[in-house]
Each structure stands twice: as C-alpha cells, then as structure tokens.
C-alpha cells in the first residue's frame, strides 16, 4: 500500500477552508483514506507544533479568545491524529547533513518520510522539498487522488511482502522496540511473558514457552519428552529440514511415512504400519498452513501406549482444526516466528504449546540450559530463549494477525477461483481449436487443465492460514522461468523430500514414499501475502495459464 505524508500547508488548507469545496473534499478524502484501506497516511512529528502555532495565531487574529483558540486547535489536532499517524523524527537523524538544509522543518519531514518502506509521496502544494537521494514523490492533492488509484502494475512483485506489514505497524513496532530499549530487560523481559500469555490464550493451550526459533522449539520438545538414541520418531519426508534435523540431533531416528497428495501432509492411514517398539513419538507437520489429520494421528498414538504427538505447526499458527487452534491439537505444538511466517518477527523466534504442566516445566528449564533454579542444572538444556525485542515485534504483528489471516484466505480463494476459471476457459478454447468450432465440447481434459493441478481447498473441518499457496505444475522449470520473465517470483516448497537429501538419504529409500517423491517434482508456490491485490493475482494467473508450449501435454490421451 502507498504512503502519503501530509505537509502543513495542505492540512491548514483543510482546517482554514482555503480551497474551493471540491478541493477541500479531496483533501478530506485523502486524510481519511487509511480508514478505507486506500493508503497509509502520516503527519511528520515536526509538523505538529507548526500546525498548532499557525492555526492558533490565525484564530486569535480573527478575534477568538486565546484559550478558546487553543482548545479548538487541540481538537483539530486530535481529529487529525485519528486519521493520520505521527511519523517519528529520530534523534539520530538530526545530524550535520540535516542541519545543512536551508529549511530544517522540511528536511525533517523528508527524513521521516524516507523511513517508510512502500511507495511514498509528500502531499504538498508547492513541491519545494529537497528530496534528492530519496525515492520520495511530491504530489498535490489532486495528483495524489489519481496516484492512489493507479496500480503499480509493472512494479516488481514481492513473493512475500514484509514492507507493507512494516508500514502498517510502524508506530506499534517503534513503540514496542523503544519500550525494550527503555526498560533494558533484553532477555526474558516483560514482552516475553506478555507474548506467551497472549499466545496461550489465543490457542487455548495451557502453556506457551517461547524459544529462540521454530527449530529450537522442536528440539526442546523432543528433549523434554526424553527422546534420544535408539528411539524412533515417525514423521513426513515432505517438510522443511528442521523437522527431521532435530530428531537426528537428539540421537533418535526419523521414520518416514508418505504424504497424501491433496494436502501434502503425512498420510495418517500409513502411520500404524511404521510403528515399532522403538517408536517414541509422532511428528506430523501442518504444511502450507493446514493442520494434518490430527484426530486420526492422536487416535493411533493413543492405541500405541499414548505416544506423544508433536505438531510441527511452524507454518500453521492461526489455523483451525475441528474448532481448535493449530498448536493446541496434540501433546505439544511448535511454531516459528521466522519473518515470512504468517505470524512473524524480524529475526528468529518460535514457541512451544502444551497443556501438560510437567512438560511445560521441562521445556522452560531446557530452554535455559536445563536450569531449575539459579545455577542448578537438573537436566541437559540449551540456550534457546527468544529475546524481548523479537517478542515486541511479534506482539506488534499480532495486532493485525486475524486480519492478515482473513486476507491470506481471501487471496487463496481468489487464486483458486481465477486459476480454475482461466484453465477452464483455456481448455475449452484449446479443445475447440483441436476439434474445429462445430464440434461439441466433450469434457475431455485438454492440455492446460492437466498441466496445472490445484491442491484441493481445505476440508470443511479445518482452515489453512496459507503460509504458502502451492499447486502442482508439469514442466516446473519452464513454468518458473516463464513466470520469472513475466516478473512473477515463485518458489518450491520443497524440491527434494528429506529421504533424498544427502544427509538423510540413508534413513529411507526414496521409493518408499512415492507421493512425496512425485510431489517434490511438481510442487510450486505462487506469491502469497495478505496484501496481494486482485490485479496482481490476475497478472500472475494470466502468466501461469498462458505458458503455452511449456505446459501442454506432450501426449494426447485419446490417441
């Protein structure tokens, strides 16, 4: 989303009604455009006292009693701050180069505006700002009205847009970070406790223990369960390496069970066959943001001596399964706050969730070197704490989390609908072209439809937070290259199952998990973030479905 920084002159135009009615309405519409989701709107902090002084003076000169003038101006400022967010003027920016400018106030506004991540314009009538060396625009109100409606259609597209998130939450982020600087409790400070309480309440789990990363959260969980050499942990080969790595790190052996083609999650029906006397835990992954079949998995675990189940929910925090939140679906749930995750920080972080008091206590101790009291180490542990600054960032991002999830789901729905519609239309055209216009459409699947396969929409008993929007494509390299040429970034989650990775290949043959092997060859992720617009999605889908020559089937089914 675009940023608009208001200069004093424009705000005074509105307050003092110094423009014709149409112009005043335009400025008022720009002032309130954040509420309508049209722009992020700002007033630089150094402008506030200027507004106050000039408006005050004007009203007093018009004969208003000074205290009344002050009161009116205060109300106008409060009204302004209901709409525009104050933009920080940092002390460290007030340096020699800034002071060299002829107009300090203007230079401060330019400096403050430069901190914003997205496209940013200063809203000004005379465009007298010295913006050299910045990418800031200077626009009059009428130009800004047009600019806001223009889509940055050919701008480079982000696979994940963390810039908009930062602009959306800048005041909360700055406040949270400065709060930590102020109190100085960098390790296990109040933000850590607050985040743990908020997240436990959010998931419904009794305990939340933050950790230095999602990987550490998984590692600590395995250690707390006492899993070690000689033990086996059942998991999926189709995951990020951390899931498997931690099992090996504690000395246990990962036992791979193949995945379901629809969800790419572990196939619960195949788990039982892999359970042995050495099985000590089951570790499903809720991939791409969608919970695995947790009821079935928990039931299998219960049948085999109450095996603990650890949900690797690094990608699925916020998702629901039968009315319960991911991370609160089994013995332990672990998530990650890696920046690109649906709920992310600006560094590493993770969390463990459990409703088992003893396990929670063990996790807390292991997180701090196995310490049960100061310098008493009852168990072997690690240095695995999440720091106060990262917790402050996640707390800020938590403010928009529900909204972000809803937007991610809307984006995914739109992808689904657009791709289905487009492949359908293209299939029809291709079939008609092949058979001649007078032949009836027979429903035979033509090239496009077969070249792109959507993963089914999540079953009604669960939701996905769409950490990724992934689909299957034939000739993936060619499709990715074509999309790249069209300015659309893609990624592959994941190109190789863990049982084919050099470090883990000895654990299980690739043919043992054929669905994972086939999926790794075809899976591809499209850009996914809460701020993806319909226009961008149409551009992506057009490029995806129009990859003629690369997505056509080489063989004709009927021949």
């Amino acid at each position: 989303m675009k940023n608009l920084v208001f200069d004093v002159n424009v705000v005074l135009d509105l307050w003092l009604e110094r423009q014709p009615e149409d112009r005043l309405l335009d400025i008022a519409a720009l002032v309130s455009s954040r509420q309508r989701g049209d722009a992020f709107t700002w007033i630089a902090s150094p402008s506030l006292h200027v507004l106050q002084s000039v408006a005050n003076r004007q009203f007093k000169r018009e004969g208003m009693e000074p205290t009344q003038a002050k009161k009116t101006v205060k109300q106008l400022l409060l009204n302004l701050l209901d709409n525009l967010q104050p933009l920080s003027a940092f002390g460290f920016d007030q340096d020699r180069t800034l002071l060299l400018h002829d107009d300090l106030e203007d230079a401060q506004i330019v400096k403050a505006a430069s901190a914003l991540q997205g496209e940013t314009a200063i809203l000004t009538n005379d465009k007298g700002y010295d913006t050299a060396g910045t990418s800031l625009l200077q626009l009059s109100p009428s130009e800004a009205v047009v600019w806001l409606r223009e889509q940055a259609a050919e701008a480079p597209m982000a696979f994940i847009d963390l810039k908009t998130q930062q602009d959306a939450l800048r005041p909360q982020l700055e406040q949270g970070i400065h709060r930590v600087l102020h109190h100085g409790q960098y390790i296990l400070g109040p933000e850590v406790t607050e985040l743990e309480q908020r997240l436990a309440a959010y998931t419904g789990a009794q305990h939340c223990i933050t950790a230095a990363s999602g990987t550490d959260a998984l590692l600590i969980s395995l250690m707390a369960l006492g899993i070690g050499p000689g033990d086996e942990v059942i998991t999926t080969p189709f995951t990020f390496v951390a899931t498997v790595e931690v099992i090996v790190l504690v000395g246990a052996t990962p036992v791979f069970v193949d995945i379901e083609p629809g969800t790419c999650n572990i196939n619960a029906a195949l788990i039982e066959a892999k359970i042995s006397d050495n099985t000590k835990a089951i570790m499903p992954v809720s991939l791409y943001g969608q919970p695995a079949d947790m009821d079935e998995i928990n039931a299998i675990a219960a049948r085999h001596g109450n095996l603990p189940v650890i949900e690797d929910a690094a990608q699925s925090f916020g998702a629901e399964y039968k009315g319960h939140k991911s991370c609160n679906l089994s013995t332990i749930g672990c998530t990650s706050f890696f920046p690109s995750k649906p709920l992310g920080g600006y560094g590493d972080g993770g969390a463990i969730f459990t409703s088992d008091d003893a396990l929670a206590q063990a996790c807390r101790e292991i997180r701090v070197h196995g310490q049960s009291a100061r310098y008493i180490h009852g168990r072997i542990g690690i240095g695995g704490r999440m720091d106060s600054l990262q917790c402050a960032v996640v707390l800020a991002n938590l403010e928009r989390f529900e909204q972000d999830i809803a937007q991610r789901q809307a984006v995914a729905r739109r992808y689904h609908a657009l791709i289905e519609r487009k492949t359908e239309a293209k299939t029809r055209v291709e079939t008609q072209e092949e058979r001649g216009p007078d032949q009836v459409f027979s429903g035979r699947k033509a090239a496009t439809a077969e070249a792109i396969t959507l993963l089914p929409w999540p079953a009604p008993d669960r939701t996905s937070v769409f950490a990724q929007y992934s689909l299957r494509v034939q000739h993936r390299d060619a499709v990715q290259a074509k999309l790249k040429a069209a300015g659309v970034p893609t990624a592959v989650h994941y190109p190789m199952p863990m049982n084919q990775q050099p470090a883990y290949a000895h654990l299980c043959c690739p043919e043992c998990t054929p669905v994972a092997a086939a999926t790794a060859e075809q899976i591809m992720s499209l850009p996914m973030h809460p701020h993806l617009t319909e226009v961008e999605q149409r551009r992506i889908v057009d490029a995806l479905v129009d990859t003629e020559g690369t997505t056509r089937l080489e063989t004709d089914e009927e021949s």
Partner: protein
C-alpha cells in the same frame, strides 16, 4: 431497486451511475436464457463470487472499467464528506472560507507566531 446494466467481456456496467455504500456489493443479475452459450460451472462461479465477497474490495484498477475515471474521482471526493463535516463541526463559528495561502506564507505565519510566543 432494479437497474439496467450492460455485460461486456466479463464486467457489468450500470447504465445509471450509482453511488454505493458498500464495495464490493453482491448483486443478483437476471440473464436471459437465450443469451446463454453454455451452462456455466456452478461450483466455479460460486468460488469466484465467494472469493470476491470475502476478498474485500475489488481493486480500483479492475473496478475502473465499471465506472469512468470521472465517476471514480467523484466517489473518492465524496468519501471525504464525513471528515470535512467533522472538522467544520469542531470549528463551529470559525468555519468559513478563507483566501488561499502559499507554503511560504504559512512559514511566515509560523515565524510571526513564534515571535509572539517568545517576545
């Protein structure tokens, strides 16, 4: 109310310009049977409708073909009405048209205000 609209290349265009309180807005459209080429896949349509419903607003670039630029600009302008009237309410008797002032004049006014304050 019933309004006439023209369907062209996947988009509906109202013949009478309307200002709507809600965007996007779900509407039911009557399509003459004889105009139908082929039965549309119902599931697909539902999915698209739902996507547009739940996806919140339709982006201005795709919506712009439904309305003209002038209509869009007018709609944007009118969205400022509540804010402008709130400001006028705060101003009370001070609400009145004043002559245009340039940024330079505002800066001069600031200098005078500061001089007043510190003298």
């Amino acid at each position: 109310m019933q309004v006439e609209a023209i369907y062209r290349q996947g988009r509906l265009e109202f013949l009478t310009p309307l200002r709507l309180k809600q965007d996007p807005l779900r509407v039911v459209v009557e399509v003459p049977d004889e105009a139908l080429d082929e039965a549309l896949d119902e599931a697909l349509d539902e999915a698209l409708d739902e996507a547009l419903d739940k996806g919140g607003r339709i982006d201005t670039a795709s919506a712009s073909s439904m309305t003209s630029d002038a209509e869009d600009a007018e709609a944007f302008r009118q969205a400022g009405a509540p804010t402008l009237s709130a400001i006028r309410q705060l101003l009370g008797p001070l609400s009145r048209a004043r002559p245009v002032a340039s940024p330079a004049e505002d800066k001069a006014a600031l200098t005078e205000a500061l001089a007043d304050k510190y003298s």
